[in-house]
Amino acid sequence: MTRLALEQVACFRGGRLLFEGLDLALTPGEGMLVTGANGAGKSSLLRIAAGLLVPMTGRVMREGGIALSAEAAALDEDKSLFAALAFWAQLDGQGHEAVALGLAATGLAQIAEVPVRLLSTGQRRRATLARVIASGAGIWLLDEPASGLDAASLDELAAAMAGHLAGGGVILAASHQPLGLEMRELTL
């Protein structure tokens, strides 16, 4: 069963206490949108949930695989988009079909053979989403997934997120723009 829970988590960064006593629990099919001003600690919260940052206090409990889409795309610039995504899919134990699925869901299937270095900002953002979809992980952590996306891509993002929740997945998204999906909100 996919689950993500944070208990009494506090985050201290750059000499500042960003948040403390934070509790959240997400069960299958549940999503949560984290909002807050720039520098409020949205990305730090996601990195804590991903296990990349150790919280100052509190515990993080995860059941299920994690997929993180952050500002850094983590795609090899000189590879084709398909090959760059396939590298991660293979590490996740997924095949080429999963990559094709992710590319189709984000509308990138037509540029699958284009080198990553030629992609635009919005296309990169969609490619990180394609990597998340292709990972087959239960827990999606999306950091500003809507930034730089056009209207059609926003719809694809909402559809992909709705599909993941319907399939029993868990989503924790940080964004300061609406994602076109009914989710609980947490303001930092």
């Binding site: 991903a50 296990g51 990349l52 940052l53 952050a70 850094a72 090899d76 991660w88």
Partner: protein, 211 residues
């Protein structure tokens, strides 16, 4: 294919695709050519200092790829994504070490053949040098990897890399260039120490850099 093998293959393809693997080689040969120019065409003298000169050249060539070993993968989020997938920082560092040595050690040994001809080294000295490089370059690569991880988050680390790495590489230079009986064993011991320690030093540095 295991994640470790995939990482090695990715890094190896990366360093050869970008020509990053050729640069230290050309540099090594260039430094080797400088010695005859500086010392003059004294064949006996060149043959005498040749082994030490080539080890110095190898040490300097080992500095070149260090800045590109860790920094790009940290900046592009690749190391974060590997950590999320449960790959320990130590095993990632070990994979990078294997890939780095493969793109650095064997090519350097091949380049030593023309370099030895330039310095008029005889067959026995050349064989001794090649064995020394085979044993010593893994240690050099390990040192480069650890220094790369330690300096990855610093700005303007280029100059610092040399300052940190060269003093630590002195034992390799001493035992590699020496023709004493036990020198190769001591070289192997030093190299083994660096290879065994580097993944843990680099792993700890990567973890510290994340918080």
């Amino acid at each position: 294919m295991s994640p470790f093998a995939r990482l090695v293959r990715r890094d190896l393809a990366h360093s050869f695709a970008h020509g990053g693997a050729c640069l230290p080689l050309v540099f090594y040969l260039l430094v080797a050519t400088l010695f005859p120019f500086a010392i003059g065409p004294d064949a006996a003298l060149l043959a005498k200092i040749g082994s030490g000169a080539l080890w110095t050249a190898a040490l300097l060539a080992a500095l070149l790829p260090v800045e590109r070993l860790m920094r790009p993968d940290i900046a592009s989020g690749v190391l974060d994504q590997l950590a999320i997938r449960g790959q320990s920082d130590e095993s990632v560092a070990a994979a990078k070490l294997v890939a780095h040595w493969l793109s650095f050690g064997p090519p350097l040994m091949v380049a030593t053949l023309p370099a030895a001809a330039l310095l008029n080294l005889d067959g026995a000295t050349l064989a001794r040098l090649e064995i020394g490089l085979l044993i010593g370059t893994p240690g050099l690569a390990a040192l480069g990897l650890a220094v790369a991880a330690l300096t990855a988050s610093l700005r303007g680390a280029g100059a610092l890399i040399g300052l940190v790495m060269l003093p630590l590489a002195v034992p390799l230079l001493i035992f590699g260039a020496s023709s004493g009986a036990g020198a190769l064993k001591l070289l192997a011991a030093t190299s083994l120490l660096f290879v065994a320690g580097a993944p843990f030093v680099a792993g700890a540095a990567l973890r510290a850099g994340r918080s």
